[in-house]
């Protein structure tokens, strides 16, 4: 783990410190473990959902009750009327094992990241927006820069703008916890010990539906994230997240 002192602070001149890591070791390692877990959870989650691509609200729901909405896809079980004349291969065995194993790794990795982020001041320094940036004026300026595809200043290679900060905070402290919570709310054993886990959502089927929408938001985040990394320089940014070193060649005046 790199000590906090090695990380350039916002006001330091980044040109002078090109050998310091862009991302600390903890951030880099947890980023890639989370990436692996995310794909494992996404693929296994999709396999599980195709066994019943119908969603409900409330406590209970099945093919004899009206659905909230249905995914227009074939199913992997013949018990679901989908309108397709065939049934997809059933992959729930390994998918369920993989889903929960990846969830454990993701949760433990997230704990490590959160504790380290609090201890080192990572959240405060890099993710908490400055009060002066939280005005509509400042926000719309950053948004306008994005919409005009304006090239970004070098300062943004070393720190995040206010929109990035808000997005990352939302994903880390709202979406991920919501996915864990709605996942636990689907567990009959957890619901037996902590009924409020599920009743706050209005029922087990509601929790399942919110779990699905959480996935949709996370996939949208991933697509935008990859697009932004691509725009900012895919090789440099990916190298920075692997080795810690940011590209320095453009920074000499």
């Amino acid at each position: 783990m790199a000590s906090p002192g090695l990380v350039p602070s916002l006001d330091s001149t980044y040109t002078a410190t090109t050998n310091t890591p862009r991302h600390t070791a903890v951030v880099r390692i947890t980023h890639w473990i989370t990436t692996l877990c995310f794909f494992a959870l996404l693929i296994s989650g999709m396999e599980i959902v195709i066994s019943h691509p119908r969603f409900y609200w409330g406590e209970a729901g099945n093919v004899l009750t009206p659905s909230l909405f249905e995914l227009p896809i074939p199913a992997s079980r013949s018990s679901v009327p989908t309108g397709y004349g065939y049934v997809l291969p059933d992959q729930n065995g390994w998918s369920r094992y993989l889903h929960f194993q990846a969830a454990w790794v993701a949760v433990l990795t997230g704990l490590l990241y959160t504790v380290s982020g609090l201890v080192t001041g990572h959240f405060r320094k890099y993710l908490l927006p400055a009060g002066s940036d939280l005005t509509w004026r400042a926000l719309s300026r950053v948004l306008a820069n994005y919409l005009r595809f304006k090239p970004r200043g070098e300062a943004e290679a070393w720190s995040y703008n206010v929109l990035q900060r808000i997005t990352y905070l939302f994903v880390i402290f709202v979406l991920f916890p919501l996915m864990i919570w709605t996942g636990l709310a689907m567990s009959p054993a957890i619901a037996s010990a902590f009924p409020a886990t599920v009743t706050v959502f209005g029922g087990q089927q509601s929790a399942r539906t919110i779990h699905f929408f959480g996935t949709v938001f996370l996939v949208l985040f991933l697509l935008v994230h990859i697009l932004m990394v691509y725009r900012a320089g895919f090789r440099n940014r990916t190298r920075a997240m692997i080795t810690g070193r940011a590209g320095a060649h453009k920074e000499h005046p």
Binding site: I48, V49, S51, H52, R54, E59, A60, G61, N62, V63, L64, T65, R77, S79, N92, G93, W94, R96, Y97, L98, F100, Q101, A102, A103, W104, V105, M186, S187, P188, A189, I190, A191, S192, A193, F194, P195, V198, Q204, Q205, R208
Partner: protein, 245 residues
């Protein structure tokens, strides 16, 4: 520099030794307190063990949520077809009057119980949620005799760790640990929503384990075996043994 690396080497070595011995102690303690599931081996073993251990620590005595009558699903979905075997059809034609439940294994008094005998035991009813691993669910009232009562009647031996339950359908069985077997809501169910348990829902006899997913709630139960090891009872299919999720 050499000083620093020596110090590093010693601390790393100490930390590794502490880690390994800590893990060994944790594994022994976990085994002693029944926190290791039978499918703890293999690639997915760590995740299964963490889930089972965490839930056994948090939920050993917790009661599944029960619902008011108004929440009972008007149209509960009965998954799968009724058994196609001749033996089942013959028993069904006779109104299941000759249905027997055999109880064997690590018990003091092995028994063969009729449905009438099971009905003569104190009954319990509960309105609980049954969730299939596919994602659908329904709420129903389930009426039956607590499995713990039948186990008390036959007298389980102290070394018992699991109860294996068999369906009349060939190659369909599953098992639970004693925490779920002795749990007050684990019922040998013969009634549903104020009537007989319909064949579609596992009638005449289904094991309800309301704190686990649907696939642990095996239908058409004809035999219980109390055991201290699941060797030889490899679970059907490739689903996780523990389904409290």
């Amino acid at each position: 520099m050499s000083n620093l690396s020596r110090r590093k080497l010693i601390t790393t070595g100490l930390a590794a030794t502490a880690g390994v011995s800590g893990l060994a102690v944790a594994a022994r303690l976990a085994d002693r307190y029944g926190l290791i599931p039978p499918d703890h081996g293999g690639f997915y073993g760590p995740g299964e063990t963490l889930t089972y251990a965490a839930q056994r620590l948090l939920t050993r005595h917790s009661l599944a949520r029960e619902f008011p009558r108004s929440q009972i699903s008007a149209r509960p979905f009965a998954n799968g077809k009724p058994p196609q075997g001749e033996d089942f059809k013959r028993l069904q034609a006779a109104g299941f009057a000759d249905w027997r439940l055999a109880v064997d294994g690590m018990v003091a008094r092995p028994a063969s119980l009729s449905l009438a005998e099971l009905r003569s035991y104190p009954s319990r009813s509960q309105i609980t949620h049954l969730a299939c691993e596919e994602g659908w669910s329904f709420i129903a009232e389930w009426i039956g005799v607590p499995l713990s009562h039948v186990l008390n009647v036959v007298g389980i031996l102290p070394q018992a760790k699991y109860v294996v339950y068999f369906s009349i359908v060939r190659d369909w069985w599953d098992s639970v640990d004693m925490a779920d077997a002795l749990h007050p809501q684990t019922l040998l169910t013969y009634g549903m929503n104020d009537g007989e348990l319909p064949v579609g829902h596992g009638g005449p006899l289904r094991l309800r384990v309301p704190r686990q997913l649907g696939y642990k709630n095996v239908k058409y139960i004809t035999r219980l075996t109390v055991t201290d090891s699941l060797k030889g009872f490899s679970p059907e299919g490739d689903y996780a043994w523990y389904a409290g999720i």
